[in-house]
């Protein structure tokens, strides 16, 4: 006998999946529209992809976003991994302080991070610029908001994400290999390089890709500290404000493809890394 509640739940779940994916699917569909208006489907073409590709403003914003995401994800991965390794040896109140900072950086809304980093940089530059002027005279470089400040701000919260991922991998790591390595007279550095790092690599890579995706998709933090620079989300936001155009659909589709493919690789890396953690003897 078919359970009526089961089939009811199944239909309900199907509806919710449609609700979750239909709007995204519509954006992708309309990106292939040949017509002049965003909301009027005329026919299939790659016309708007061509138009978008030839727009220098889009290209500049896209280039900025890629550069910012790559740099901030690299910083976040290095800082986060180093900190995750160090935190193994930290106990007591100091550990509590770090744990709180990590989770605060992840959980607080982006706007709070935006304001915090804006305030820090404006105060810091306001204090540093006069000193630079005194040292190097009027030709001294004037530090201002721009790409470096976006990179630093993104690294703050993506670093915490890398830290959490790498730390959970360290917790699930096979310790007997490290002990074996030091029993065989490897130096701590060699043990780290040849035993620990290869085991952590999938988690570190997954952390990097997630950090990249976060930075690439972020609007609100960059909005606060971008200064005169534009990132792709900032460009999209200001174009929406001026009116919806078909170009936004093509940019949106490309952005979705970037984040989805990164997400897919991340998921594969993490699954493989967890599977390896569960069956260390089969390596």
């Amino acid at each position: 006998m078919r359970d009526p509640i089961s089939s009811l739940l199944k239909n309900y779940a199907t509806l919710l999946y449609i609700f979750l994916y239909a709007p995204i699917a519509l954006v992708v569909l309309f990106s292939f529209n040949s017509g002049n208006y965003a909301a009027d489907l005329q026919g299939f073409s790659f016309r708007w992809y061509g138009e978008t590709w030839r727009d220098p403003f889009v290209l500049e914003a896209f280039g900025n976003s890629i550069f910012i995401a790559t740099t901030s994800a690299t910083l976040a991965t290095i800082f986060g991994t180093l900190a995750a390794l160090a935190l193994q040896n930290v106990r007591g109140w100091l550990r509590t302080v770090y744990d709180s900072l990590i989770y605060i950086a992840i959980i607080i809304p982006g706007i709070v991070i935006g304001i915090a980093t804006l305030i820090f940089f404006v105060q810091f530059f306001g204090w540093l610029n006069p000193i630079l002027q005194n040292l190097f005279g009027p030709t001294a470089p004037r530090l201002n908001l721009g790409m470096p400040t976006i990179i630093a701000a993104h690294a703050l919260f993506t670093m915490s994400i890398v830290l959490v991922i790498v730390r959970s991998r360290i917790a699930g790591m096979d310790r007997s290999l490290i002990e074996a390595s030091s029993d065989l007279y490897a130096t701590p550095f060699n043990t780290f390089w040849q035993v620990t790092l290869p085991q952590l690599f999938p988690a570190i890579m997954a952390g990097f890709l997630l950090a990249f995706t976060f930075s690439f998709d972020d609007f609100i933090v960059a909005f606060f500290v971008a200064g005169p620079n534009t990132t792709l989300p900032i460009y999209v936001f200001s174009s929406i404000r001026r009116g919806v155009t078909p170009k936004i659909n093509t940019i949106a589709t490309v952005t979705l493809i970037v984040s989805l493919s990164f997400l897919f690789i991340t998921q594969n890396l993490l699954t493989r890394s967890n599977a390896r953690a569960r069956t260390p003897d089969k390596e």
Partner: protein, 290 residues
């Protein structure tokens, strides 16, 4: 202290140095500066002038509308997220077949990791006069229906964007539920309805509380949904903060607003910790989103 422990300590400190610098300069120091600013005055050209006054806090009631909008629509959005997410999480945890389960759960999480801006943007055309209202009008159901730039559009945007974040913790707590308890309840003569309300629902409370807390906290700083789907007519605290920090450059008042927001978030997190500690060990389970 032996040489080797001193060496370990030095290594630990060096490894932690970059992360500590980032947390200190970009998270801790700014929070201190915001606190100081909130007692200051606005400089004539914008920005901050040193002072010690409660003026900014006394002015807070003039911006009570964004706070009321945020708290009211965030509560409404969280409520609808729970109503919609619960049956879905329940289906995934109890009915979905083992091989389909991992795919279905991944499909819930995927939208959450894609651009928030684009997910919100997707609704603009759907809700605009050429979207759903036009279809309903053609069917002869309504006339001159306006959906975009209304509280309805904002609530819909909230539910759409935050549904994954609510579903996932709920799913985790329902998935971990000991199935023997359900059988015991059935053996003791409880019907389905009774079993659900007396066994399943209370045991899913940790997931429910975690999900609600995550959604509500993030909604406190929401900017994009009201900006895009509310057409700038319905201000959230996030919109007020963007206005105060980036447009009118009234930093001291902006700092006071931001302090008030931090205070609300602190209250929510304390409430969350209190609730989970009352639920005992089970509430403490970490619901990882990664």
């Amino acid at each position: 202290m032996t040489v080797s422990t001193r060496k370990t300590k030095l290594t630990t400190a060096l490894l932690l140095a970059p992360a500590s610098l980032w947390y200190l300069l970009l998270l801790v120091a700014p929070l201190v500066i915001v606190t100081i600013f909130s007692f200051g005055e606005r400089a004539p050209e914008g920005g901050y002038a040193a002072a010690f006054t409660f003026e900014q806090y006394l002015k807070l009631p003039t911006r009570s509308t964004p706070f009321i909008n945020t708290l009211w629509l965030a509560s409404l959005g969280t409520f609808f997220c729970i109503i919609l997410a619960y049956p879905l999480a329940y289906y995934l945890a109890t009915r979905a077949s083992a091989q389909m389960k991992s795919i279905l759960v991944a499909l819930i999480i995927v939208p959450f990791w894609t651009s928030f801006l684009i997910r919100t943007y997707a609704w603009i055309t759907i809700l605009s006069s050429r979207g759903i209202p036009a279809i309903l009008e053609r069917l002869g159901l309504v006339q001159d229906l306006v959906l975009l730039n209304t509280p309805f559009a904002i609530t819909l945007g909230i539910v759409y964007n935050y549904l994954p974040l609510m579903t996932f913790p709920l799913y985790v707590s329902l998935e971990r539920l000991d199935k023997r308890l359900l059988e015991a309840s059935k053996d003791l003569g409880a019907n389905r309805w009774g079993t659900f309300w007396q066994v399943t629902f209370p045991l899913s409370a940790p997931g429910l509380i975690t999900g609600s807390m995550l959604v509500f906290i993030l909604l406190m700083g929401e900017y994009l949904i009201p900006a895009l789907l509310g057409g700038g007519k319905i201000f959230f605290v996030g919109n007020a903060l963007v206005d105060l920090f980036l447009q009118s450059r009234n930093w001291p008042f902006g700092s006071a607003v931001s302090m008030a927001l931090n205070f609300i978030m602190l209250v929510i997190i304390s409430l969350y910790l209190w609730l989970t500690s009352r639920l005992g060990g089970e509430g403490r389970e970490e619901v990882s989103l990664f």
